[in-house]
Symmetry: C2
Subunit: 233 residues, 2 copies
């Protein structure tokens, strides 16, 4: 493929390269069923989301923090009357989530391979270090990346550092991901390019509006399309 002015491509992992939120939602459904005798599910799911948001500042992102938030919510909405067996089931659900299979999304494998031959690829992801390393290993894509950045937050400063440390600065760097809030907007704020690849499942905490008046913003209907988009930047 012909090479554009871009030299570095940052790729988000969860729900950009492989399913993630889908497994969280399955786990959450299991959690709501476990508590069905104790609380209405809309109430329980709202309380869980509140706990997750509240705990982000303490636990950061990832499955272990999510599991702890589920346990906390179970105690909360049952006023401490939750049976120990339910706590055990929540622990099990968290462990199952940590072991979910990793399957790359349609078009990902071919596209990543093609991009790796012409650009420097960096995986940029939040979440549990240990869990993200497991998923990358299982995806079979590990060799495609020149660097892996597992970060506690994705903000403007994160991208400024990565674009200069691994690339030739923001003018030649693009970030690709399914979260406007974490992948696209802060990468553009850092002076780089941002390509939004929507995914059907989005975590409620990650919602954001598309940027307006942003000449470095692109949207791709499918992951396959990003190679052509990047070529034209």
């Amino acid at each position: 493929m012909s090479k554009s002015q871009i030299s570095l491509i940052g790729l988000d992992a969860d729900d950009t390269l492989w399913h993630n939120e889908y497994f969280f939602q399955l786990t959450q459904k299991r959690f709501l069923e476990l508590l069905a005798d104790h609380a209405e599910s809309t109430h329980a799911s709202a309380r869980l989301l509140e706990a997750e948001k509240r705990n982000l500042a303490i636990y950061g992102f990832g499955i272990k923090g999510f599991t702890l938030s589920m346990i906390e919510t179970a105690l909360e909405i049952t006023a401490g009357r939750v049976p120990a067996s339910v706590i055990q089931e929540i622990l099990d659900a968290g462990r199952d989530l940590l072991a979910h299979p990793v399957e790359t999304l349609p078009g990902v494998e071919d596209t990543v391979e093609k991009l790796a031959s012409a650009y420097k690829l960096v995986l940029i992801t939040k979440g549990d270090l240990f869990d993200q390393e497991r998923k990358l290993a299982q995806s079979g894509l590990g060799e495609m990346f020149k660097a892996v950045e597992i970060v506690s937050d994705k903000n403007r400063g994160t991208y400024e550092r990565i674009f200069s440390q691994h690339g030739e600065g923001p003018d030649q760097s693009v970030m690709v991901g399914n979260s406007l809030k974490s992948d696209v907007v802060p990468a553009i704020e850092a002076g780089g390019w941002g390509i939004f690849v929507p995914h059907e499942h989005v975590w409620a905490v990650e919602h954001a509006d598309a940027p307006v008046d942003a000449p470095r913003f692109r949207e791709a209907a499918r992951f396959d399309d990003i190679a052509e988009i990047i070529e034209k930047l």
Copy 2:
């Protein structure tokens, strides 16, 4: 200070730069007290250690995994009869552990500052990404490090990568830490130097013997001593 052949110094964080295991042990004591009516403390602490070891492969290192292991152990040793109030207390204990104060150990601040003026310093630590970043920020030492490597495991390959990526290779690289198993032995296996700075509290999982016939092994009685040791390498 005069400069030796060393150009890169890797520094472990927990129990090398600041207390960590001490806070884990306080939390474990609180856990055993919570379960005192349900299990003998030696039994409970042995079961907790088993759970921690078993869960390392799933949770990795860090406080969130430790909290989940405490909850699992509480369910296990009470055969599911643990009161929900005890689960709540364990959650609270885990959160308190995540918020423990960070105080650098004696001699650390001065020595790290001195070393930073002559060598490239890299912080190399395991554990929860989010928690380690918090501790580094609170320690006030963040500016002293050229790079921070929060890794899921510390083995020979970890040090090979870091010594070549951030330094001039293993001959010019030394790792300093309180764990023979994680800091000293694998750094020497990677071809570099290893300085052991013992700490009074050592996690049972981190025990290892001192290397024999290892000309690149050093031991420092106090953190202050490492500057002089490194100068002579």
